[in-house]
């Protein structure tokens, strides 16, 4: 937002691009959890565009982004976040868009030294080079610490009015926001996607381990954001909704998973993945029963809907808390 505003203030026409990878923290999770719990949140990219009075183009890159997540040339960060490859990919997509829409250069809000992987002094040039943007990539917040770019050389932007911020601190950005009259500016302090999240990455690794080869589709990665995920046996995964909103959402997956609907008590919907025999299904139901109102009752009843559409009933004794080892939780 600050970077865009700096360039906009020099009289240039700026358009925003927002790439949707499927892993974005925005939107989905807020939408899935119960409406009573939380109001839908604003979409930050749209909000920023509105504040700056610029058009915003939102681009679905889910399919293309898969190769970045699955085979990052520069590896992962602390979790499954391929930040350096990701940045290069997004700038490359922005470059394609730039050419198609007759824009002249690309700006990003990066600050050298701010993030451990993609914004280090030595990795900064990698994004410009590997994206193909080269000197058409301008980082207005730290431009004064970087080699001259095309827009500066051509005089489209005045380098003197850009900045030389570096490091992890945000004081300079906050002061600049104030100076620019931006009271509430959206700037994620941590990562901008679920791939930086340790718990999410653990679930994604588990998914890859249990497939013939590492792969995913949008339904897979959405599902990892929802519910409690447990793997009580190597071939058996159980996903228990945490509230009514998640129950509603998980119901949409009933054709891909065996579905356990608690009928004797109020309780969340549970999905079961993997080939299951009766014993597995019993175990899954006993786990699911822990999270319903009948958790202290001797018996809890479920309606079981198999993927092939067969329906039947099972009655189980809920597991006690001490019968669910921590190691089952993903």
């Amino acid at each position: 937002m600050l970077a865009a505003k700096l360039v906009q203030n020099q009289g240039l026409h700026v358009a925003g691009l927002n790439f949707f990878t499927g892993f974005c923290v925005e939107g989905h999770t807020h939408s899935i959890r119960s409406r009573s719990n939380r109001k839908p949140r604003r979409n930050n990219a749209l909000w920023v565009a509105e504040q700056l009075n610029i058009p915003l183009y939102m681009i679905d890159v889910i399919e293309e982004y898969k190769s970045i997540v699955l085979h990052p040339r520069h590896g992962y960060g602390a979790n499954l976040n391929p930040c350096l490859d990701c940045k290069s990919f997004m700038v490359k997509k922005a470059l394609e868009w730039m050419h198609a829409h007759e824009f002249d250069f690309i700006i990003t809000g990066e600050v050298v030294g701010q993030r451990p992987m993609s914004q280090r002094r030595d990795t900064f040039p990698v994004v410009a080079r590997e994206s193909g943007a080269n000197d058409r990539l301008l980082r207005p917040l730290c431009a004064q610490l970087q080699p001259l770019t095309l827009p500066e050389r051509e005089g489209w932007v005045d380098r003197a009015q850009l900045h030389g911020f570096s490091g992890r601190g945000r004081k300079a950005q906050i002061a600049l926001a104030e100076q620019l009259g931006l009271k509430d500016y959206a700037q994620p302090a941590g990562g901008c996607c679920f791939l930086t999240d340790a718990a999410y990455s653990r679930k994604l690794r588990d998914l890859w381990r249990n497939r013939d080869r590492p792969d995913y589709d949008i339904d897979d990665i959405m599902l990892l954001k929802v519910g409690r995920h447990l793997r009580p046996r190597p071939h058996l995964k159980v996903i228990v909704a945490r509230d009514a909103g998640e129950t509603r959402y998980l119901r949409g997956y009933r054709r891909r998973f065996t579905c356990l609907d608690m009928t004797s008590h109020n309780g969340p919907l549970t999905l079961v993945e993997g080939e299951q025999n009766d014993e597995d299904l019993d175990l899954a139901a006993r786990i699911a029963a822990r999270y319903g109102q009948g958790r202290h009752e001797p018996m809890v009843r479920f309606q079981v809907l198999s993927i092939d559409g067969r329906e039947r009933e099972v009655c189980v004794t809920p597991l006690r808390a001490d019968e669910v080892p921590r190691s089952w939780y993903l």
């Binding site: 989905h28 509105e50 679905d60």
Partner: protein
């Protein structure tokens, strides 16, 4: 009663997909055309009007019932 030029069904999709699909659909329409969007994600009630404001399209109506949300917009130039 406005006459709808195109209906877009994005039920089951979560934000930002309803906005992205709206944006892509509007790109194929002409100024003055009316698009009716059916969705289920309550986030669309914030996002689609915000997207319209950003691009200068006109929000004609929003209608919410327990099953779905219908948002009608008029495409501007």
């Amino acid at each position: 009663m406005v006459s709808v030029t195109r209906h877009l069904d994005v039920t089951g999709l979560l934000c930002p997909m309803p906005v992205i699909q709206t944006q892509n659909c509007v790109a194929e329409l002409c100024p003055g055309d009316v698009l009716s969007i059916r969705c289920t994600d309550p986030g669309a009630l914030l996002d689609i009007p915000a997207w319209c404001r950003v691009h200068g399209h006109v929000l004609l109506s929003t209608d919410e019932n327990p099953e779905e949300i219908v948002i009608v917009i008029r495409v501007s130039s």
